[in-house]
Amino acid sequence: MLNKGGNRDTTMMLMDRSVPGRVGVITPELDVPAAPLPDAALLRDSLPLPEVSEPEVVQYFTALSQLNFSIDTHFYPLGSCTMKYNPKVNDEVAFLPGFAGIHPQQPAEHSQGALELLYRLQGFLTEVTGMAATSLATLAGAHGELGGVLMMRAYHLAKGDTGRTKMGIPDSAHGTNPASAAMAGFDVVTIPSDADGNTDLAALREIVSDDLAGVMITLPSTLGLFDTNIVEVCRVVHQCGGLVYGDGANMNALLGRAKLGELGFDVCHLNLHKTFSTPHGGGGPGAGPVCCGEILAPFLAAPVVERNDAGQYTLAEPEQSIGKISGFHGNFGVLVRAYTYIRTLGAAGLQSISGNAVLNANYIMHTLKDIYALPYDRTCMHEVVFSADRQRERGVSGLEVAKRLLDYGFHAPTMYFPLIVHEALMIEPTESETKETLDAFIAALRAIDAEATNEPETVQHAPHTTPVSRLDEATAARRPVLRWEEPAAAD
């Protein structure tokens, strides 16, 4: 990044910059008589916040922003994360005063536009997933999972079926799947993958029994593969009285190509901050709506939006709802963006997304598989998972290959996930990248492979051009420093 002198240098934190008496904001004068204050025991003595002026705040945070890679500035093929283009119009409409400036508890007659938007979005997502109903109350993918598996639990309990304590989860699953299942009180049973990367049907059959509440399947799987056993998986689970949860985080591959509900899934969540292009914001906000079939609809998290005969929209609680799972009605600002995105693209646009996302991933797969090991050599979906095993043999790890990409001006792929692939490098190009970018990225990965042979140290010690080099994570965890502290007075 361009050198910065003086207060634009980011090495000083806000508290380091604080000078007594500096002012960052002017507040209005008090225009009513002052009231007596409560007992002093209730009032604070000091408020250890910084004292800095407005220009300093702008300059400091602007400088910080420039230390980031982001979609707007860098190709970001981070597998499983669907780092696609985030349209600016979506942000613009979400900030309209009629959206950003409305109170969640104001009377419904003064929020009809907002409620209608939510109602329509419920319908769009229900349609996209081939389900029967949707709740928008869950605030991220993992939150949707929690809501979904709690619904599975509630369903069994409502039937008086109290013995279903187990949840089957593939070994390739994202960590949130087992964590959500555990929060919903289930014991996790791991389901292995077969040699093709599909669910191992034999292994599945072994665990299905009347203590199995259901399974959580990611489709396409985190291996970037369409599980060709999926219909059979659903059949087997259903046969034993279990339910099938779909982790829809990878839905970018399937938009308009297949519907989870039709394949046999009972409930799923979508990551609007992936598939529906709401910006990830450095780690959120997201939105993880839950869509489900008829039998689970009564259990959806509250609220859902209903439309009455007079055409008015109201918030309602499904009959046997698992209850409220968030403070209000979901991450509305994110939902506005997703609604806008779907309205912009329509069915043909969504299908074009999945087509191009999958095409781009396969292009990368085909142009690199001579060099990078491909654990599952079959058509991939929206992402391709390589292994850096062949580079490892030359002393260069997958992590090092990934870090070296940063020097080439590309964000790294997801590394070491899914856990079942050795030295995994998981690359998701998305549909929003140009062929030029794909080719430049492919060239970089080929060049790094050559470096692994010719100058392995360059790769091993990468990155070399970033604001900081490799960081000491071990010490960070062993002696955690989690906030600014007054520097010890020098004497």
């Binding site: 922003s65 780092m83 450095g282 900081v468 080099s469």
Partner: protein
């Protein structure tokens, strides 16, 4: 067959797609989906036809226009979402693409911006609450306190919590949802009996500060009672009030959570908001969500990383402290900018404006015939008024005068209405409310 649609969001043209297909050795994009069983491939997708951006702006503009924004007139509605002023720089900075379109900072070398922001956030939130550590944020205030309950149970290895009945109803419901599968017993007790209810089985006592009805609970007494029996004191506190009020940390709270919306986040129909989560240092390994730590790089330069990740789902899986992954990082940024620019003095001044204005309003309303203030405890910016007629009717008549009234809490207080006054309400606004209420009486 799916036909190709050339969207402005998708660069590659059909000709370029054909080039890619040729490289792969396929004929059509459809061939890529051969793994999907025929019966399920290319289902009809019934969605409205796509719109141009011009039409989108118009459609969304019309939908937005059917909602009444708080700026349309004086508003006295709070109850968990607050109308505070947000300086322009918050949006100007948070919408920078480098922040907006980055992922979770998993690659620290190219994410120092986001990481250092979170470190600032952790610093300022712990300072506000008087706590030793704060995490990178949770979904919202409700899920934050629910996760605090789970954490209190983990820390104490106990399975019963006491929740004051003055905690926001929505928060209580979300706690119930989060606990429903965990075998945790939740006892809802009147706030003034919460201290007495603690036993050796109690994992935690949960209160809100100021409570949902605006009043200040006796944190010192609750902390003492909880600690006497080895339980934790869990407080959900409004961060903006911390500009003035002694923080829960100074009353011995073990976990302090909160809704971050008041500090720099627009009401936005209830989200995205920001869960705040802080605790004593000794409990950090039981905390949910991300933590950023300071460290050094190979050349000795200071840098920041995600740390203590073994608590988290991507490492610990079913034994993680929580399933949370994506949180609300962009709003942690918004709050950090807000707190930075408000600073030590600005936050105190805003808190005092809210306090004095609310008391001015309460005094005036309390003197009106037919109205009374049923609560006696100290309050901050919210208070309950007992109205002469049903609150719904009062609100209806207020809206005729373009005033957004308070929340109906007649389930708890006779004709009760929960009113909120902030720095956004001028004296003229308050006087208009008071005279309107006088007319309605």
């Amino acid at each position: 067959m799916v036909t190709n649609f050339q969207s402005h969001y998708i660069p590659n043209t059909p000709a370029e797609q054909d080039e890619l297909l040729a490289a792969i050795g396929l004929r059509s994009v459809d061939d890529l989906f051969a793994d999907i069983p025929d019966d399920f491939r290319n289902p009809p997708l019934e969605l409205p036809a796509p719109l141009s951006e011009l039409e989108i702006q118009r459609e969304l503009g019309e939908m937005a226009a059917r909602n009444r924004p708080l700026s349309a007139g004086p508003s006295f509605l709070g109850a968990g979402s607050y109308h505070h002023f947000i300086p322009s720089i918050v949006k100007a900075i948070m919408t920078r693409g480098e922040f907006l379109t980055a992922y979770t900072p998993y690659q620290p070398e190219v994410s120092q911006g986001t990481l250092q922001v979170i470190f600032e956030f952790q610093t300022m939130i712990s300072a506000l609450y008087g706590m030793e550590v704060a995490n990178a944020g949770m979904y919202d205030g409700a899920t934050s306190v629910a996760e605090a309950v789970l954490m209190a149970c983990r820390v104490t290895r106990r399975q019963q919590v006491i929740v004051a009945d003055t905690v926001a109803p929505a928060y209580r419901q979300v706690i119930a949802t989060y606990c429903q599968a965990q075998g945790i017993a939740i006892d809802i007790v009147p706030a003034d009996r919460a201290a007495d209810a603690v036993t050796e089985a109690t994992a935690g006592v949960v209160v809100q500060y100021p409570n949902f009805y605006g009043s200040l609970e006796d944190l010192a007494a609750l902390g003492a009672a909880a600690h006497a029996d080895g339980a934790l004191l869990v407080v959900s506190a409004d961060p903006l009030t911390m500009g003035m009020l002694r923080p829960p940390g100074e009353f011995g709270a073990d976990i302090v959570t909160g809704e971050g919306q008041p500090i720099g986040i627009p009401p936005s129909f209830g989200g995205p908001y920001l869960g705040l989560f802080s605790c004593k240092q000794q409990y950090i390994r039981q905390m949910p969500s991300r933590l950023v730590g300071r460290t050094t790089d190979t050349e000795g330069r200071t840098g920041y990383v995600l740390t203590l990740q073994t608590r988290e789902q991507h490492i610990r899986r079913e034994r993680a402290t929580s399933n949370i992954c994506t949180n609300e990082a962009l709003y942690a940024l918004a709050s950090s900018i807000y707190l930075a620019v408000m600073g030590r003095n600005g936050l105190r001044q805003v808190a005092e404006l809210c306090y004095h204005k609310a008391h001015y309003a309460a005094d005036a309303i309390g003197k009106l015939g037919g109205y009374s203030l049923p609560q006696s405890a100290d309050f901050f910016q919210e208070f309950v008024v007992s109205c002469p007629v049903a609150p719904a009717e009062v609100n209806r008549q207020l809206m005729e005068r373009n005033i957004l009234g308070g929340l109906d809490v007649s389930d708890r207080f006779d004709n009760g209405m929960l009113l909120c006054v902030t720095e956004m309400n001028s004296r003229a606004d308050i006087d208009a409310l008071v005279s309107a209420l006088a007319e309605i009486a």
